[in-house]
Every structure is written in C-alpha cells, then in structure tokens.
Symmetry: C2
Subunit: 219 residues, 2 copies
Amino acid sequence: MKIAILIYDGMTALDAVGPYEVLAQLRGAEVSFVGRRQGLVTCDTGALKLLAEKSIDEVPLADVVLVPGGPGDERVRADERLLSWLRAMHAGSRWTASVCTGSLILGAAGVLEGLEATTHWLRLDALAEYGAKPVAARFVEAGKVITAAGVSAGIDMALHLAAREAGERVAQAIQLSLEYDPQPPFASGSPDKAPEALVEAVGGAFDGIMAERMAKLGS
Amino acid sequence: MKIAILIYDGMTALDAVGPYEVLAQLRGAEVSFVGRRQGLVTCDTGALKLLAEKSIDEVPLADVVLVPGGPGDERVRADERLLSWLRAMHAGSRWTASVCTGSLILGAAGVLEGLEATTHWLRLDALAEYGAKPVAARFVEAGKVITAAGVSAGIDMALHLAAREAGERVAQAIQLSLEYDPQPPFASGSPDKAPEALVEAVGGAFDGIMAERMAKLGS
C-alpha cells in the first residue's frame, strides 16, 4: 500500500510523524514523504528539518494521501500547483486524510465540499469557508476522506485507518507496539475539558505565536 | 533553555518528535537535533530522514538532553564516543530524559546506576543489566533523570517535564494547543490491557521486525 505524506515549510512535525509511525507498520506499506520539490522542509518551530525524498512530480498516485497542518498551511492553500496535485491524488486515492489544519488545505483543494470534517479546535469555523460541515470530533470519516483534530489527533485517526485497512487485530497490535496507552498529566487537551480561562489564553496567543514562527522561517 | 535531542540511524521518529513538539513550546526553548555528525539520519522504517543540524562536538552542554529509542539503540550502546558525550551532557544537564529504549542507551552510558527507570514494555528486564530498577510505568522521574515507556509515552513525559520547568498552567496550555485529548480506538496500548494472545503475538514478532528494519538500513 502506497502512502504519500505531503510535507512543507511551516508544518507541525507531529501531525505527520504520528500517523506515519502507525501506518508504516502496515504490511506492505511504502511511505513516501513528498514535497513541492525534493529536499529538506523546515517545520514550524524552525528547529526540525525533515527530508522530502520525492517531489510531487514523482508521486502522481497513492493509496493513502495524508496532509499535515501547521502555520505553513496558509501558503499551501495559496499554492495552486500543490492544490492541483492534491486534487489529482484524491481522485486516485483509497483514502484522503488530514491532521489539524491539513483539512483546510484539503478544503482549499475542493476535497471537502459538502462533507463533514474537523480540524484544530481553534480553526473549526474556517472549514465552512470550503463548503465543509465542521464537526468537533477527534476525527471524522466522510466517505474516503478522514480528517483529524489538532496535532496529536493524527495518532488516533491513523489507528482507526489501520483498522479499516487491515482489521482491528492489526491496529491493536500496532497500538501495543507503540505503547499508545496515553496518560496525559492534565485534563486540558480539549476546549471542553480545559478551564475556560486557559482556553481563552491559548486562543488569544495562538495567532501571534504562529505568525512569529512563520516570520522566523522567512519566505 | 537549551534542549538537545540526540538522533541516530534506526531511531523511532515519534520517540523524538513527540517530546520535541511539547518542549519546543516552552518560552525561550532552543531545541537542537544533534547527531554523531552533522547530516541526515534515517529513522527505523527507512522512510523518514531527519536532519541532525549539529554534531555532538558542537553541543557540549544543554539544560535538557533527550535520547529517543528504536532498533538502532544497540549500535549507539556500543558507540563509546556517543556514550562519552552523553555522560558529559548528563554531568551538566538539569534534566536527562529518554523515551522507549533510549533508556537502555542512558544505561549503557552509566546514567541509570541505582535508579528506578522504565522503557518499552518488551525491554523492561534489560534495564537491570545497567544497574537500574525496572518500573512498569508511563514515565519515571528519578532525581534529574526521567525515562518514559514505549514510543508515544514521550508525549506524556514531556508534558510532565514542561510542568516541572514552567508550571502546570504552561504545560496545560501546551497540551491544549497540541489538542492532546487522546481517544485511542482500542484498549490495547499496554500489555496489562491488551488481550494476552495479542501481547504474545507482538512480543514474538517484535525482534524479527526490528532486525529486519535494521537490515534494510544497512551499516
């Protein structure tokens, strides 16, 4: 099974690496990290670079295409070449998936029209601009399109996808091998659970932090 | 706060990327991905390459040193140059941390002598060979040494570390920004919770899969 993960400057690394770690364990999985061009991409903090071993021109088709999010999503949404590649990949995919604001990129490519979808809780309303029906959920399966909520939600989504492809026993084995038995120290992982003041503080600071990260990355 | 993350061929990417995504959000965090030499390292599946932007010679000191695990740990444990670097880093660190079999590397460097520690559930017994007291826990704090269980446990550990450094409110805000509200589709993330037959199957296949991954990476 061919799995293509789009990576780009200003992406959030965990959005891609969480699902990759799950899906790469499927029997016969061939994972490609794909960039606008072959070469290094710089993640949103500026501290981590991942290699896009292939350019989009080298990967015209895959069984699974996955799009991570991050503050760099804005540039990708304005990049007709990438969007056109995504439309073509989606036309031939068995699954089209996103994590965090990766769903806004799918939206910009026209993939979410009329579908239920999710994204990072701070961006949920933006999905409607792309004709999607925003749903506050860990992940949403709508036909062959699966969108996950913010950052770490990609792990849960990928375990679900692994079960859909290879059965629950295989997905459970992958979960056990990754020791995914989460015990978060705080009950603050979603806006429903965190104290209201914290939700407001994070919401208020978020845009500024993301803009700062992108400014550091340069153009 | 300077954070040095050791990366190496045959590591498991999520071991490093989970904690990085948490710790990089601390105010003033300067994260360095550090390799035996500057350049790309290939993760255990062969599909993902990360850039070690600095060599160990360029990073003689950090506030936090973090060691991921993965099937490549064996080579690192036999690499006196890396172990000697780790000993020096540990001597000057505020926190020395590991994820998964990264703790075996800390053990080989002599860091765990007499300390309680943890690792991937399939390797727990091996900790005793390094004079550590194995504990089956999500993560274990022993003085300034924090070891986490398998792969995804690094996220929980890093949130704890963030709280110890910057207070609970900051750690909670980071958890909310990463939307770390885990909803694993299965209750199979630890050997205590998964069906016994599955635990045996994963245990039986693990060594073979890890050896196969390392063989693919070459020498």
